[in-house]
C-alpha cells in the first residue's frame, strides 16, 4: 500500500509561542495565547478542553488554514504558515462538519478525494474495498452522503481522509453526535491506521472517556495549555479521592445536589442508583461519612480516578485562580401538583411511516410524574421521530400517545402551555440578543407584564446570563447557548420538559451544571424526557429505553439494564458496554 513510515522526527507538531486573536463584533477574543508544546509522532494525541479553549483554531493553524498572529508552528518539519502546500500534501484534516459533499454518493466522495490526493486510478478500487470493509459502508457505495446517518457520515469522512494514509491525521471533534457503536468503530479504525502505517493522530473531543484511550492528552483552556501527558498522569494524583456512594432509593438527587456545591468536593455525579464523589483531599473511605455528614444508611466504596475527574479538577483550579466562581447554580421551580406515580406520558403501539419505511415501528412506554426518562439509540433509531410525535410536530401513523392526557397535535393551544421543549442544536433566534430571546419565548407562552419581567429576571439570574443579556445569541459560546435554550424552555414553568440531545458538543463542566438543573426540576416534580448520545448521561436517568430501527430493544432502570446486558466477563459494565452489547446482540 503505502511506503513504510519513516520515523525521521520524534515530534510531528512543534508549536512555540503561538498566539491568535479574533474580533467578533466589538469583542476581541484570544483564541490561542502563547501556546508552546510538542506533539509526539506515531501516537494518538487528544486535545481536550471546554468551549473556546482554542482547539479548533490550533488545528486550523496546523493545517495551514489560519495564520497565527505570533509564534511559530512546525508540522512534520515544515513551517505550516509558509510551507502550507507541503504540509497539506502530507497531512489530512477532517473539520467538524467532515467536509463531505452531501449531494454526492459515497463512491463519488471517495473519487473526488482520490483525485485531489493524486491516487493512481489503478490502485483505487483496492483501497476503496479495504476502507469500505473497515467502515462497514460497502453496501452504501451508491447512496448520497446526505442520506447517511450521522455515524456513517463520520466514518465516510474518516475514510476520505485515509484514502492515502497521511503521516499526520488531524480530526476535529470526530465523534460529536455519533452513537456509541459508531464511535467505537471509529476509534478502532483510527488505531488500526496508527498501527499499520505509523500514522500520528491529533484529535479533539468532548468525550473524556474517549480521551482516555489516547496515548497522550493535552488539556487546554481559553487558549492556554493546562497540562499534557498520558491520561493516567492526569488521573493518578486523584487516587484516594474517588468514592461511590449508595444512597437509599429516592434520595440520590438531593444528596448529589447537596454534595455538588461543597468546597471539599471536586465532583459528584449520579451513576444509576449510586453517586460518584470526587473529593478535594484524599480520604480514607471510612472518613467519608464524617466529612460529609452522611447518614449511616449510605454505603461508601472507593473507586478509581478517571481522566474526567482530573479534567474537572484542573479546570476548577484554574477558574478559582482566575477568581471566577465554580459553584453550581440551583434554580427554583414551582412544585408540580399531582400524585407522583401518575403516568404523564403514555405511548401505545406508536408507529410512524415515511413511504414504505417505518421510522418508528410500534413502540410503547410510559413515563411517570417527576421521572427523568431517557431515550437512547443509535443514529437513525427513530428517537427524534418519536420526540417530534410526542411534541405534536409530526402526526403519528398509528397508535396512541398522550402527554398530560392529551395528544399535543390535536390539543388546543392551552395544553401546550404545560410543555417545554428544547430542540436539537439549541435552536434559538440567532439574530436576537439573549434578552430578546427570553422575552420572545415568554410572550409566546403567554406571559406578560410583571410576571414576564419577573421570569426574565429569574432566567438571567438562574442561568448566569446576566452579563451576556445584550449579546447576540449567535456569538455566544455553545455552553451559553445551551443554558439560554434551557432557560427559554422553562420560562412558563412547564410540568413536562422535552430535551432533544441537550448536551451534544458541550464540555463536561457545562454538562454537569446542566444536569444539576435537570435534577432540581425532577425533584420539583417536572417530568423530563431526554435523548442523548452520552451513555454516561443515561445513568442520570431514572429509566431508559434503548431503540433500534424504530423498535424498543430494552427498557428499565440503568441498573437493571446493566445487569441484564453486559459483555461476558466484564465485572462493572458501563452503560456504554451495555448499549453496545445490546445493539450487537440484536445485529448478531
Amino acid at each position: 500500500m503505502s511506503s513504510p513510515p519513516k520515523r525521521e522526527d520524534e515530534y510531528c507538531i512543534v508549536s512555540s509561542g503561538l498566539t491568535k486573536r479574533f474580533t467578533s463584533g466589538q469583542k476581541q477574543i484570544v483564541a490561542l495565547d502563547d501556546c508552546s508544546f510538542k506533539v509526539k509522532s506515531g501516537i494518538v494525541t487528544g486535545l481536550i478542553g471546554p468551549d473556546g479553549a482554542g482547539k479548533t483554531t490550533f488545528m486550523r493553524i496546523c493545517a495551514g488554514l489560519l495564520v497565527p498572529d505570533q509564534g511559530k508552528i512546525e508540522v512534520l518539519g515544515y513551517d505550516a504558515t509558509k510551507d502550507f502546500l507541503h504540509v497539506q500534501t502530507n497531512i489530512r484534516y477532517m473539520p467538524q462538519r467532515f467536509g463531505l459533499y452531501e449531494d454526492l454518493t459515497v463512491r463519488e466522495n471517495l473519487e473526488l478525494y482520490s483525485d485531489l490526493l493524486g491516487i493512481p486510478v489503478t490502485k483505487r478500487q483496492a483501497r476503496y474495498d479495504s476502507l469500505m470493509a473497515m467502515t462497514g459502508l460497502a453496501p452504501f457505495m451508491g447512496r448520497l452522503a446526505g442520506r447517511l446517518s450521522g455515524g456513517m457520515k463520520q466514518k465516510l469522512g474518516l475514510a476520505c481522509t485515509l484514502l492515502k494514509p497521511p503521516r499526520l491525521l488531524i480530526l476535529d471533534e470526530p465523534t460529536v453526535g455519533v452513537d456509541p457503536v459508531s464511535r467505537r468503530e471509529l476509534w478502532d479504525i483510527v488505531y488500526s491506521q496508527v498501527h499499520e502505517h505509523g500514522m500520528s493522530v491529533l484529535l479533539s473531543t468532548a468525550y473524556l472517556d474517549e480521551a482516555e484511550r489516547c496515548q497522550q492528552v493535552i488539556l487546554m483552556h481559553e487558549g492556554h495549555v493546562l497540562g499534557k501527558g498520558v491520561p493516567q498522569s492526569f488521573s493518578e494524583p486523584l487516587k484516594g479521592h474517588c468514592f461511590m456512594l449508595g444512597p437509599p432509593s429516592g434520595q440520590k438527587r438531593r444528596l448529589q445536589r447537596d454534595l455538588a456545591n461543597r468546597d471539599e468536593v471536586i465532583d459528584s455525579l449520579i451513576l444509576g442508583e449510586k453517586i460518584r464523589l470526587v473529593t478535594m483531599d484524599a480520604l480514607d473511605p471510612g472518613k467519608v461519612h464524617n466529612t460529609f455528614h452522611l447518614g449511616e444508611e449510605i454505603s461508601v466504596e472507593e473507586s478509581s480516578p478517571r481522566l474526567e475527574d482530573a479534567f474537572i479538577w484542573l479546570l476548577k483550579k484554574r477558574l478559582l485562580n482566575l477568581g471566577r466562581g465554580v459553584k453550581f447554580k440551583i434554580i427554583s421551580h414551582h412544585k408540580v401538583a399531582g400524585p407522583p406515580d401518575e403516568d404523564v406520558i403514555v405511548v401505545r403501539n406508536l408507529k410512524r411511516r415515511f413511504g414504505d419505511f417505518y421510522a418508528v415501528d410500534g413502540i410503547s412506554f410510559s413515563v411517570k410524574r417527576g421521572e427523568v426518562f431517557g431515550l437512547l439509540g443509535a443514529n437513525g433509531a427513530g428517537k427524534t421521530t418519536t420526540f417530534r410525535m410526542l411534541c405534536g410536530l409530526l402526526p403519528a401513523s398509528e397508535g396512541e400517545l398522550f402527554v398530560a392526557g392529551k395528544n399535543l397535535r390535536k390539543a388546543r393551544a392551552k395544553a401546550r402551555e404545560r410543555v417545554g421543549y428544547m430542540a436539537q442544536k439549541f435552536s434559538l433566534y440567532e439574530d436576537l440578543t439573549v434578552m430578546q430571546n427570553l422575552r420572545f419565548f415568554s410572550s409566546a407562552y403567554g406571559l406578560y407584564g410583571n410576571r414576564q419581567k419577573e421570569r426574565v429576571r429569574w432566567a438571567l439570574d438562574a442561568f448566569e446570563l446576566k452579563d451576556e443579556a445584550n449579546s447576540i445569541s449567535r456569538d455566544l459560546p455553545l455552553g451559553y447557548k445551551q443554558r439560554l435554550a434551557l432557560a427559554a424552555s422553562l420560562m412558563h414553568e412547564p410540568d413536562i420538559l422535552f430535551l432533544d440531545e441537550p448536551t451534544s458538543g458541550v464540555d463536561p463542566l457545562a454538562r454537569r451544571q446542566f444536569w444539576v438543573h435537570i435534577n432540581t426540576l425532577a425533584e420539583a416534580g417536572v417530568t423530563i424526557m431526554v435523548t442523548t448520545h452520552f451513555m454516561e448521561e443515561a445513568e442520570y436517568c431514572d429509566r431508559i429505553v434503548i431503540m433500534k430501527q424504530g423498535r424498543i430493544l430494552a427498557k428499565g432502570t440503568p441498573e437493571t439494564l446493566k445487569r441484564k446486558f453486559h459483555p461476558p466477563g466484564v465485572e462493572n459494565p458501563t452503560m456504554e458496554d451495555t448499549f453496545i452489547t445490546l445493539i450487537e446482540q440484536e445485529a448478531g
Binding site: L65, G99, D103, L112, D115, L116, G118
Partner: protein, 378 residues
C-alpha cells in the same frame, strides 16, 4: 515526495470538475437556473411580451353620420391595429376612456362633412390615454397613418391637388417587419447568461463555505488555481449550454433571423461568460452566505443586465451619469454584439470593439480574483 508548488495537476482538476458536474446534475436549483429559467424567460418574452400594439380598442365618435365621416372612419375599421368601438357622443366615449375600456378616441364633430367639403381643415379630435406614454405615442402614430392614407385617397377621388409636399419613404433596416421579438429575444440571451454566470456561480461557492466543504477542500494538496478553474470550467460550459439552448429556441421557435457568423457568436459568448463567471466569483468571496450572494448577484448583475444593457431601454436616451455607469455593465457590450449578429450580420468594427471591452473586463475581474483568493480561512 516532489511536488512543484506551481504545477497544475490534471487529476485534481478533473476530479473537481467531475464533482461540480455531479452536483449540478443533482441540484434542482442549478438546473432550474441553467435550463428551466431560460426556457421560461424565452417563452415569456418570445410569446408574451410585445411592444407592438395590435387590436387597440379605439373609440370612434360620429356626432353626425355622413358619407364623408363614414369614409374617414372606415380606415380605422380596416386597420389591423384597431378594434373600433362606436359611440354616439363624446361624453360616452370619454367615460369609456376613463374606465380604460378604450385606449383612444377619434371624434368627428357635427359639422365634419360640411367643413371637409368646404376644404376648411375640419378638426378631428384625437384623445389618447397618456398613462402609458409609449403606447399612447404608438397609437397616435397609427392614427396619423390612417389619417394620411385617407387624405391621399380623398384627394385622389376628389381630384384635389393636395399631394403632400414631402413624401416620406422609410426603410427600417435589419427588422423590416418591426417585430419587437426580434430584438428582445437576442437581448434576453445576455440576461440568461448573466444569471447562470453571476448568480449561480456566486451561490454555489457561497454554499461550499456555508456547508464547510470548502474548509475540507482547502487542506488537500489542491492549488487555489485548481479550485477556481474547477468552478469556472463547469459553469462556463453550463452557461454555454444555456446559451446554445437559447439561441436554438430563438432561431427555430421564434424565427428570429440570425445573420452573422456562429463562430463569432460563440467567441463573444465565451468572453461574456468568462466575465459573468468572474463577477460571480468575486461576489462569492465578498458574501459569506448563499442568501447574501444571491441578493448581491441580483442587484449587481441581473438588474443591470436587464435595465442598463440597452436590452429594452435605449442607452443614448438615458441621462449622462447613467450612461457612464452602463460602461461597467458587461451585458451592455454583449447585447450590442448579439443584436448586431442576429439582425445585422458581422459588423466587425462593432464586434471587435465590444469584444475588446469584454476581454478587458474579464481580465480585470480575474486579476482581482487572483489577488483575493488564497488557501486560508477568513
Amino acid at each position: 515526495m516532489k511536488t512543484s508548488q506551481k504545477s497544475l495537476s490534471r487529476m485534481r482538476l478533473s476530479g473537481l470538475i467531475k464533482k461540480e458536474i455531479r452536483q449540478i446534475l443533482r441540484d434542482p436549483s442549478s438546473i432550474g437556473i441553467a435550463f428551466f429559467l431560460p426556457v421560461i424567460l424565452l417563452i415569456i418574452f418570445g410569446y408574451g411580451v410585445s411592444l407592438d400594439a395590435e387590436h387597440v380598442p379605439l373609440g370612434i365618435v360620429i356626432e353626425q353620420p355622413s358619407p364623408e365621416a363614414n369614409d374617414f372612419v372606415s380606415g380605422f375599421k380596416d386597420s389591423e391595429y384597431f378594434d373600433p368601438v362606436f359611440f354616439r357622443s363624446i361624453q360616452e366615449a370619454e367615460n369609456a376612456l376613463i374606465q380604460r375600456r378604450i385606449m383612444g378616441i377619434v371624434w368627428t364633430r357635427n359639422d365634419f362633412a360640411r367643413q371637409v367639403l368646404k376644404g376648411k381643415e375640419a378638426p378631428v379630435g384625437v384623445i389618447v390615454n397618456g398613462v402609458d406614454a409609449n403606447q399612447a405615442r404608438i397609437v397616435e402614430g397609427y392614427i396619423t397613418g390612417v389619417w394620411m392614407k385617407w387624405l391621399v385617397s380623398y384627394a385622389r377621388s376628389h381630384g384635389l391637388d393636395i399631394m403632400a409636399p414631402v413624401e416620406v419613404k422609410h426603410r427600417i433596416w435589419f427588422n423590416s417587419a418591426v417585430r419587437s421579438r426580434n430584438f428582445l429575444v437576442p437581448g434576453l440571451i445576455a440576461v440568461i447568461m448573466t444569471l447562470i454566470g453571476g448568480m449561480l456561480t456566486s451561490m454555489v461557492i457561497a454554499r461550499e463555505w456555508e456547508r464547510g466543504t470548502m474548509e475540507a477542500l482547502l487542506v488537500t494538496p489542491v492549488r487555489v488555481k485548481e479550485i477556481i478553474l474547477g468552478k469556472v470550467i463547469p459553469y462556463f460550459f453550463l452557461g454555454m449550454g444555456g446559451m446554445t439552448l437559447s439561441v436554438f429556441i430563438s432561431i427555430v421557435i421564434f424565427h428570429v433571423p440570425f445573420r452573422g457568423s456562429y463562430l463569432a457568436l460563440g467567441f463573444a459568448s465565451a468572453l461574456f461568460m468568462l466575465t459573468a463567471i468572474a463577477l460571480g466569483l468575486i461576489i462569492s468571496t465578498a458574501a459569506g452566505s448563499q442568501f447574501v450572494a444571491g441578493q448581491i448577484a441580483i442587484v449587481i448583475t441581473f438588474l443591470p443586465a436587464f435595465m442598463l444593457s440597452g436590452f429594452v431601454f435605449d442607452i443614448n436616451s438615458m441621462p449622462f451619469p447613467i450612461q457612464v455607469i452602463t460602461h461597467i455593465v458587461a451585458a451592455r457590450y454583449f447585447v450590442s454584439i448579439l443584436q448586431s449578429l442576429f439582425l445585422a450580420g458581422n459588423i466587425w468594427p462593432i464586434y471587435l470593439v465590444n469584444c475588446l471591452w469584454l476581454a478587458v473586463m474579464a481580465l480585470i475581474f480575474f486579476l482581482i480574483i487572483k489577488k483575493k483568493s488564497h488557501k486560508r480561512l477568513v
